[in-house]
């Protein structure tokens, strides 16, 4: 037993030291502290944006604290995280909601505490005045629909993978797609809500392809889903372009799939630039130069094989060697 008690003391000693040092390191950080809170950090979309947040914070001499709720389901956890941030005291928050409505109460709290806040893309439906920088989900959905309807000459079966059904952004994009596509009776839309993961995407598309051999096009919500879809299409023995795959963003090697022709087009937005802008906005609010409410809607544009190398990438890509 003696041995064991000693070992415990040792372990805890180390812990004490560890905690102590960590604490020191933080307390001494004098510069602005900005909390970036995202719903699902492993989504390539957020990874990319993280690059933007980080670089811009460095540029403006602020310290970024990155909080990931670890999935859209963890509303309770994210609310807890916000509470924690309020607790430790923070100069500004950039917030992407796990749940549009579920986070309202806590976000209201933030606003009431007069803490500069920018809601970045994943909306929290607070009625109070707040800064927002948003994608236009409806537009994203419509752009895909336009492209597909056009390429299919107005008739054919289309599979829509809008992503996790509980995410409002997905619902918007879904609406955008449907509302446009429904004007073309020739277009039959099959919708499959899935988790935003490659294996889910692959499994679903494989199955759907069996049930609908005449499938003409697939529209996907996120790079992981796009990859899954492509893999399934490849496995089905189709040639590049037989089935249109229209995705979103170029992360996770989508550009490569496009060059090879598996992905026909993808809806872009300068998400990294968006992240940088979000940081600038929150800092300006801290400085008092910017007053809520304000809504910044960012642009969306569609890139296909031909235009792949002809558009300005700086706002939507990060150097390959960047890892954290």
């Amino acid at each position: 037993m003696e041995r064991k008690r000693l070992m415990m003391m040792f372990v805890f000693g180390i812990l004490v030291a560890g905690f102590g040092l960590a604490g020191e390191g933080l307390v001494s950080a004098k510069d602005l502290q900005i909390a970036v809170m995202v719903p699902n950090g492993v989504d390539p979309y957020f990874t990319a944006k993280r690059y933007g947040y980080e670089k811009e914070c460095e540029k403006l001499g602020a310290k970024m604290l990155f909080y990931d709720a670890g999935g859209y389901a963890n509303v309770n956890k994210q609310i807890g995280q916000v509470e924690d941030v309020l607790q430790r005291g923070i100069d500004g928050i950039i917030f992407g909601a796990t749940s549009t409505d579920g986070t309202v109460p806590v976000i209201d709290k933030v606003i009431d505490k007069k803490i500069p806040l920018v809601i970045d893309n994943l909306d929290s439906a607070t009625k109070k005045p707040v800064l927002r920088i948003m994608k236009n989900g409806i537009l994203v959905g419509q752009l895909r629909a336009v492209y597909i309807v056009d390429r299919l000459k107005g008739s054919g079966k289309v599979l829509l993978l809008p992503g996790p059904s509980a995410v409002t952004l997905c619902q918007e994009e879904y609406q955008g797609f449907i509302t446009y596509a429904k004007h073309f009776p020739g277009i039959k839309v099959i919708t499959e809500w899935t988790a935003s993961s490659p294996d889910a995407g692959m499994k679903t598309v494989e199955g759907i392809l069996q049930a609908n051999p005449d499938l003409k096009a697939i529209a996907t919500f996120s790079p992981p889903l796009t990859v899954g879809a492509c893999k399934a299409v490849q496995a089905s023995g189709a040639k590049p372009g037989d089935i249109l795959v229209v995705g979103q963003m170029l992360d996770a090697g989508i550009d490569d799939y496009m060059r090879k022709g598996w992905v026909s087009a993808t809806v872009m937005c300068d998400h990294i630039e968006m992240a940088r802008e979000a940081v600038r906005m929150v800092v300006r609010q801290i400085k008092g130069e910017l007053k809520p409410p304000q809504l910044v809607l960012i642009d969306h544009y569609l890139v296909d094989r031909d235009t792949l190398d002809k558009f300005e990438k700086s706002g939507s890509s990060y150097p390959k060697e960047w890892r954290r």
């Binding site: 950090g41 492993v42 989504d43 390539p44 957020f46 990874t47 993280r50 990931d68 059904s165 499959e192 809500w193 899935t194 988790a195 993961s197 490659p198 294996d199 889910a200 692959m202 499994k203 679903t204 494989e206 199955g207 759907i208 069996q210 049930a211 051999p213 790079p223 992981p224 990859v227 899954g228 893999k231 490849q234 496995a235 089905s236 023995g237 992360d251 996770a252 090697g253 490569d256 390959k320 890892r323 954290r324």
Partner: protein
């Protein structure tokens, strides 16, 4: 491993689940003949092969009265580790290293459980967090892609390729299955493993080195999960930091559904295969027969219970 069990459990694995399985297949075939198309079967079996590897790993753990909760995160870890070591070492060595990472996690589990005597459910719960965290810290959540074309083609073969008419993972799974079958049925280690599950104290009295067996078992479980992850990664040719998320439930579900007794000592590869098949064909069948993705989950739940009920009723009579 019918022999390994009393008549009761003979029925259980022999009739209950297969019964449900057969019914299921027929129903799906009637709803949409495409379900029985060669391509659909082969691609479903491809998924099945991957799941089987994981389930059989879980099965080993469960046979010794244990459980391996870390499989999911280990898969994610391996997915990432494989790709990033391929960057450095090239396809084959890279893949090997990647898979070994899984073995390492399993080995650590084994040591924690066998030598430090931490209850499996806790040891592997810890590993669940550690493996996931480690991998996320390393990648920062970045999805790893952009392999060289050569690597990509080579790697993809493992997951997506064909050996004659059969998908590569299936061939491999069958191979692994046979080995495991032999090991469990006709080797000292296999027997010791069952002893551990049937009565740990008695096992010790017949000279079973519990801690060694446990280390091997959990290392195997880790390795098998890693192999599953490897084939999946190869198929997607990308390292996805949350690859394993959905798979833990499937692996436990598959093992138990197949009829591997959660109390240890009963069950075997046959059960693992059964459980796996039910799960993958159920999932695929529902998609093929065009069931809404929301209703799907509910139905899967019902089937799981029904399948199990059938077997229980069989067991009674």
């Amino acid at each position: 491993m019918k022999r390994k069990k009393g008549l009761a459990s003979f029925n259980w694995s022999r009739h209950g689940t297969p019964l449900a399985f057969g019914l299921m297949i027929i129903v799906f075939a009637l709803i949409n003949p495409a379900f029985l198309s060669v391509r659909n079967l082969s691609q479903t079996l491809r998924q099945g092969a991957i799941l089987f590897l994981i389930v059989s790993g879980q099965g080993l753990a469960i046979l010794t009265r244990g459980i391996d909760l870390s499989q999911g995160s280990v898969m994610s870890l391996v997915s990432v580790a494989t790709i990033s070591s391929i960057y450095i070492l090239g396809t084959y060595w890279g893949s090997l290293v990647g898979v070994l990472f899984g073995g390492l996690c399993g080995f650590i589990n084994g040591v924690l459980i066998g030598y430090l005597r931490i209850p499996p459910i806790l040891a592997t719960l810890g590993m669940l967090f550690i493996a996931l965290g480690a991998e996320l810290v390393y990648t920062g959540g970045v999805t790893l892609t952009n392999l060289t074309d050569v690597d990509q083609i080579r790697l993809f073969w493992f997951g997506g390729g064909m050996l004659g008419p059969v998908p590569v993972p299936v061939v491999f799974a069958v191979f692994t299955g046979l080995i495991l079958y032999f090991v469990l049925r006709c080797t000292m280690f296999g027997r010791h493993l069952y002893f551990m599950g049937a009565n740990p104290d008695a096992a010790r009295m017949v000279g079973v080195k519990a801690n060694r067996v446990l280390v091997i078992v959990y290392t195997l479980s880790g390795l098998l999960a890693a192999l599953g992850a490897f084939f999946l990664t190869a198929r997607l040719s990308m390292g996805f930091p949350h690859l394993g998320e959905a798979w833990l439930v499937l692996s436990i579900g598959g093992a138990v559904l197949g009829g591997i007794s959660i109390l240890g000592g009963e069950g075997g590869i046959w059960e693992a295969i059964l459980g796996t098949l039910v799960i993958v064909f159920l999932d695929n069948g529902l998609i093929v027969s065009g069931v809404s993705s929301f209703a799907r989950e509910a139905i899967i739940g019902c089937i799981i219970i029904l399948a199990c009920m059938a077997s229980v009723i069989r067991r009674r009579s």
